[in-house]
Symmetry: C2
Subunit: 443 residues, 2 copies
């Protein structure tokens, strides 16, 4: 291992490995045999080959911002950190693509794209820490998936090291290429269990500088759904459509020591942002009027928009400051959103109780259920919320992935045939269960 990456990049001192052994939320923690920090693809391949020879299971880790326990060791695995693979190539504006190392942060990619008038087309609050390899490995989503899709939609190709140490590479970024099975798509969202992503060919989108945001207080999720339909129909510049509830707003206001920007408090708030080549303010105002919205806070300068977004993006930090949350990321069909939101408090209460804070991406039917109170290893509330999402026709994971948190839920969520197919694929590509064992699929 030392031969592969140099002794300075094999960490064994507990003081140095500690930060790799606990997740962002504080809920998942374990012990790493060692932490290895390869610098490039060939070093990753050498590390994986060495781990294979020694039957030493591997946990790949990017920015360690994952929320389902997939990126931290459980029981003495080798942590392979990708943060040194942080090169970002030249943005090819003619083709709208750039090759990005797995360890580059989303913020670094955003900055590189912005310098040449392009946009990464993906954004969320952990942008300064999360890495592109992890973003792709868990098919991260965020607030702008409504317009641009999840990370999957941004991937024109990738390079990865498989369990046998071999390297597959599809970095040409051809717009059409259907030669053989789409291993690229299979690796996206596989959470490091089928291969370790080392580089990504990323599709940028044109940068849209003219932006306007609106915060709209509403009474029900049904009203929010109707508003979303109106925005979709009449504001093609719609880029994000988020929601949070009043107790979440209060938590953020208390944490940020701010006064409420909305005079008239309401049960639910929608935060919508439009972006276009030319000022979309009139388009947004017209769509709001057609939706019957009378009361909205409009921000058409970047400082004002940032103040509104801080209310939505600040929820995660405010929750973290209040305790170790159970972070449950689910998705439901929009028609079921009202019922789902109404039933969460009852489900939480019936499973041992706790304080549930609900927010998320309205446009995707993606709800983040954060529950404060239960002990980290008490999974009753997790089960109750995931069960409710499935009974609403939804998914147990919208954008966080399965990780170790939801692995035992996968068969119930997908059915036996789909799980059997996934197990067969895992066994075919990683017969010795070397890569991220216990994540996605139970052992």
């Amino acid at each position: 291992m030392v031969r592969a990456v140099g002794s300075a990049n094999v960490l064994t001192d507990p003081d140095l490995t500690a930060s790799y052994e606990c997740d962002f939320s504080g809920r998942y923690r374990g012990h790493a045999a060692i932490v290895v920090r390869p610098a490039d693809t060939s070093q990753v391949a050498a590390v994986i080959a060495a781990c294979g020879r020694h039957h030493a299971p591997v946990v790949p880790q990017g920015g360690n911002t994952g929320l389902v326990g997939a990126g931290v060791p459980r029981d003495g695995e080798v942590v392979v950190s990708t943060t040194r693979l942080d090169q970002i190539g030249e943005v090819d504006s003619a083709r709208g693509q750039v090759t990005v190392g797995a360890g580059a942060t989303l913020a670094a990619l955003q900055a590189a794209a912005s310098r040449v008038g392009e946009d990464a087309g993906l954004d969320f609050a952990s942008r300064e820490s999360c890495t592109i390899g992890g973003v792709v490995a868990c098919d991260a989503g965020g607030a702008r998936a409504l317009r641009y899709g999840t990370a999957r939609a941004r991937v024109a190709g990738l390079e990865a090291v498989l369990a046998d140490g071999s390297v597959i590479s599809r970095l040409a970024g051809l717009p059409k290429d259907n030669a053989g099975y789409d291993l690229v798509s299979l690796l996206i969202g596989s959470e490091g269990t089928l291969g370790i992503i080392t580089r990504v060919r990323w599709k940028v989108v044109p940068q849209l500088r003219a932006r306007v945001a609106a915060l709209i207080p509403l009474h029900t999720a049904a009203e929010a759904g109707a508003l979303l339909s109106a925005l979709r129909a009449h504001a093609p510049s719609l880029e994000s459509c988020e929601f949070f509830l009043d107790d979440g707003l209060q938590l953020v206001l208390d944490h940020q020591r701010r006064r409420s920007p909305v005079a008239r408090r309401a049960p639910l708030y929608v935060l919508a942002e439009c972006a276009a080549r030319s000022d979309p303010t009139d388009e947004l105002a017209d769509a709001l009027q057609r939706a019957g919205v009378e009361d909205a806070l409009i921000a058409d300068d970047s400082a004002g928009r940032e103040r509104l977004w801080a209310l939505r993006e600040g929820i995660t930090e405010a929750i973290k400051a209040a305790g170790i949350p159970h972070k449950l990321d689910v998705g439901v069909p929009l028609a079921q959103l009202d019922g789902f939101l109404a039933r969460v408090p009852g489900a939480v209460a019936a499973s041992g109780g706790g304080r549930a804070i609900l927010f998320g991406h309205l446009g995707d039917g993606n709800v983040h259920v954060n529950v404060l109170g239960p002990e980290p290893d008490d999974t009753r509330v997790d089960d109750a919320v995931l069960d409710l999402a499935l009974r609403c026709g939804g998914t147990i994971s919208a954008e966080h992935g399965v990780g170790v948190m939801k692995a035992r839920w996968l068969e119930r969520a997908l059915g036996a045939p789909e799980l059997a197919a996934m197990r067969a694929i895992k066994h075919a590509l990683d017969p010795h269960n070397l890569l991220n064992p216990g994540a996605v699929l139970t052992a």
Copy 2:
């Protein structure tokens, strides 16, 4: 088998099976043991289970418009025709989705979308015959992939029968759903070798009625590349950007008994179409002016646009009327397109000779090399063209798939690690090689 689908839907009479045993181009033909026509997913599952019990290999077939021999029998397989699975559900405009049976034609889906002001977001010349199951199974592309992506980008989910007769179903169409490996993506483009697609959850796009097309005569592919860049930069309404050469134009004019609409003939023609909510003619004219185009034929009414498109879409029929072509679909990086086009005639001449007609989708670097002259089973010209595409950094299949035509080329195109991973996946999901043996992967 008769019990599964009824005797009327098990065809054995050679008069009835003949049309299932030969492909559209006439190059690929074989013998089917029987042709089975199930009516729904459970019948497909019963048929596959029965074939499994009798070790009878299966060739799935949709509209039989495939061009790489993947949909016609080779040597006594059971042909499973999906054309009776032709139901199209209600288009959900709020979510922009519709559930489509695998046997519905692309034209039928386009019509269903159009009736509610939506658009299928995919189009090509075989629209009246090709089926959605086949379109997805080979990740078809076409002229509008430049704007909307290939078939893959239109799929929000699907249902399929696996080799063991089990059914997997992801038809909820959740915008974000990353629970487990993306089997949907893996099945897209697998050409019936990993499962038989029975239903597809399809993403429609807003119908754009304001359209304008332009035919631009040019001297070189380099000029065409520069024009494409200008159109991309200045005409966001750009939807298609096609090209063909002068001998292709002459072939179509002769076949259609038409006079040339372009007064001044040139070596190469670009056909561009813009579509928007409001008339994009000024935007297109401005972009053409910025690109330095002085001579363009503009069509802003549908009759005029159809006349221009008939020149491009008529090439396939005109070639078919002239003989049995070798149809080679490749993709190259745009920067290599000029060199590729220049070197094809020499490569064809050196491999036994023939008449090469070149056309395709400029925006995707996707070239259709059609060669008339060589016998159907003489593969020297195929090898020469595929080799040239790879040496230009391209792909052996942009949008037609691998089929039986290119299976033996896959290792050279992708490398041993990627091919080994594909073989492992195939073996994991179809251990007895029941589904479309010999397509994509050589036996």
